[in-house]
Amino acid sequence: MDELRTLILGIGNPARGDDGLGAAFISALGESLPEGFRAEACYQLAVEDAIALSQVDRVCFVDASVDVPAPFDWQPVGADPQGTMDSHALTPGALLMLTGILFNTIPEAWVLAIRAEETSEIREQLSETATQHLELALRFFNEKAGIYPDL
């Protein structure tokens, strides 16, 4: 049986304080990913990401959030016809919807939302609290990815 292909997308701008959580997550994953896993950082989700999503079985969107409970939230996400596509940036649900319409396939998907303190300050470092949340999110994800390969 072929290996399941999994894409991890870390979203956010590392120059905007805790908005960089997604990129920091990808950086921390490093090269030690299980077979079949691929990780990429991006500022925001864009329409062409639909091509990458059409080529994998599973995708995990990692982003900062000021709305979820600390330290992080892990939820499945599906294609969302109401998802916003009002700018170059898409929501995960909108991107999944686009992928389905254009390529007739939608990967299983989850959002790992890591609790941020602030995301508007021009600063390259994560806040202390966000750093702690990041570590817990990484531990959670590595356990899921390692012990439960099916996530």
Partner: protein, 493 residues
């Protein structure tokens, strides 16, 4: 979206008592980059008095740059914007070229940078046209909201949407092979570039050119047909005379990477043409208004009242004498045959943008055939200077980076003038016109009417983004200050 009386709100037009004023807000504007807000001010008779576009401009980045080493600036500035990082990368690199004493790059370096830039403009324009503006154009401004969105476009025109995604991907692939990475690329460095194209990369891109060029022709046709079939609307919808500013090549041809800074009036008469780009601040000044974070640039010799101008695709198409590629040049001639030599219609931005798309793919094809991309000297140095000004035609218009660097290679001064700022007055004028035409006498606002205002803004493809994208939070803050700088009101979410 709110429709509310604001009797105690100090943000009201001058010359009106607060009790006479009523304010309608459209918040946020959809399908433009980032978030802004439009406030429409009605007078006591319920007529539109003035409409204002409020943009939370991304300030403070200059201080983020100060103290950085000149070598890292072209990389770091890409964090300014998640939408067009390559424009900032190249504008900063061009400024730093001057700091390291380089006025003329090697042919290899310039062509690699041009390839990167034209790839970026291509992917930016394609996305704007197909995914942000097409719902308005294909279904009409008055179409139901549930239809006037990109998913409806994709359902109705799946092949069009698929091509747009693949054209975007092609542009991103060009950025990746020229800049080294999709984001935070390092390809342009002070004095040149740090990599060649490999034969494999070149052939992979070149192999797609014929098909993609045909798609660009088809896309241009969509814009042409739309404009030709809606000429009356183009002439009446947010159409006004203005000055236009852009870079043009020394011989007057359109050039997105480098040239002479040229301003023309509404009749095409030259206002100035300056080859020495370091003198730009002799020509352009900025006005501050107490209701907007964003400045209002104007041509100094004309003053703030009549010196405002437009930038971007329409300005470039109006200002240039011709295109350097054959098919785009024919497209330019068709544009002028229909709309005239100096067109002031806001909606003509869409047509101009798609002429540039065809031009970009033609330039990319030409560059990919050039062996200088595969070999040749990549970087040079000259006599060190303290100051550098980099200017480039970004997708949305002229982008200016200005730096001063000390003897320790540290940036001591940084000033950035971004494309959307140049268009500030024009966008306010456009939405005021549209609001007056479409909202007067209609006290019960509906989504279609409000969308007319947004359509006018979208034509300019403003980048309101500050590249932050946390789930559940898009930054928006409105602050009011009195003449003494005291805060009267602040709204944030």
């Amino acid at each position: 979206m709110t429709d509310r009386a604001a009797p105690t709100d100090p943000d009201i037009p001058v010359n009106q008592s607060r009790s006479e004023s009523r304010r309608i807000e459209i918040d946020p504007i959809t399908r433009v980059e980032g978030h802004g807000k439009v406030s429409i001010h009605l007078n006591s008779a319920g007529e539109v008095d003035e409409a204002r576009l409020h943009i939370v401009e991304f300030r403070g980045f200059e201080r983020f740059i100060e103290g950085r080493l000149l070598w890292e600036v072209p990389v770091i500035v890409q964090r300014l914007c998640g939408i067009c990082p390559v424009s900032h990368h190249l504008a900063a690199a061009k400024a730093m070229d001057q700091i390291v004493g380089v006025d003329q790059l090697t042919p290899t370096a310039e062509k690699m940078r041009r390839l990167m830039h034209y790839g970026q403009v291509l992917q930016s324009h394609v996305l704007h046209f197909f995914h942000l503006s097409s719902p308005d154009l294909l279904f009409g401004f008055d179409a139901p909201a549930e239809q006037r969105n990109i998913f409806a476009v994709i359902q109705a025109y799946p092949e069009l949407a698929r091509r747009a995604v693949l054209l975007r991907k092609f542009g991103q692939d060009i950025i990746e092979v020229t800049a080294g990475k999709k984001i935070h690329g390092t390809g342009a460095i002070p004095g040149g570039i740090n990599r060649h194209l490999t034969l494999e990369e070149r052939d992979r891109l070149l192999g797609q050119i014929d098909e993609l060029t045909q798609w660009c022709r088809d896309a241009l046709k969509v814009a042409e047909n739309y404009c030709e079939q809606h000429l009356d609307m183009l002439k009446s919808f947010a159409s006004f005379e203005s000055n236009f500013l852009s870079l043009v090549r020394e011989d007057g041809a359109l050039d997105l990477y480098h040239g002479v800074l040229s301003a023309q009036d509404a009749l095409g008469h030259p206002i100035f043409a300056e080859a020495d780009l370091t003198r730009f601040n002799h020509y352009l000044h900025e006005e501050v208004k107490d209701w907007s974070y964003m400045k209002f640039p104007f041509i100094q010799s004309l003053g703030p009242e009549s010196g405002w101008y437009r930038v971007g695709p329409l300005a470039r198409i109006n200002n240039c004498k011709g295109m350097t590629t054959s098919e785009a040049d024919l497209a330019l001639k068709r544009f002028r045959a229909v709309l005239g030599k100096h067109c002031g219609h806001s909606l003509a931005y869409h047509w101009a943008r798609m002429i540039e798309v065809l031009h970009c793919i033609e330039v990319i094809a030409r560059l990919l055939e050039d062996s200088d991309l595969l070999t040749g000297e990549r970087v040079i140095k000259g006599v060190r200077r303290e100051e550098g000004i980099g200017m480039i035609e970004a997708p949305r218009g002229t982008l200016i980076h200005h730096y001063k660097v000390d003897e320790h290679d540290q940036v001591q001064f940084c000033n950035l003038i971004v494309s959307t700022t140049h268009n500030n007055t024009a966008m306010n004028r456009a939405i005021t016109m549209v609001a007056k035409q479409h909202l007067n006498g209609q006290p019960n606002l509906d989504d279609a009417l409000l969308n007319h205002v947004e359509v006018a803004v979208r034509a300019y493809d403003p980048c309101l983004s500050c590249a932050t994208h946390a789930l559940g939070q898009m930054p928006l803050q409105i602050e009011l200050l009195d003449a003494q700088g005291q805060r009267l009101q602040m709204l944030s979410r």
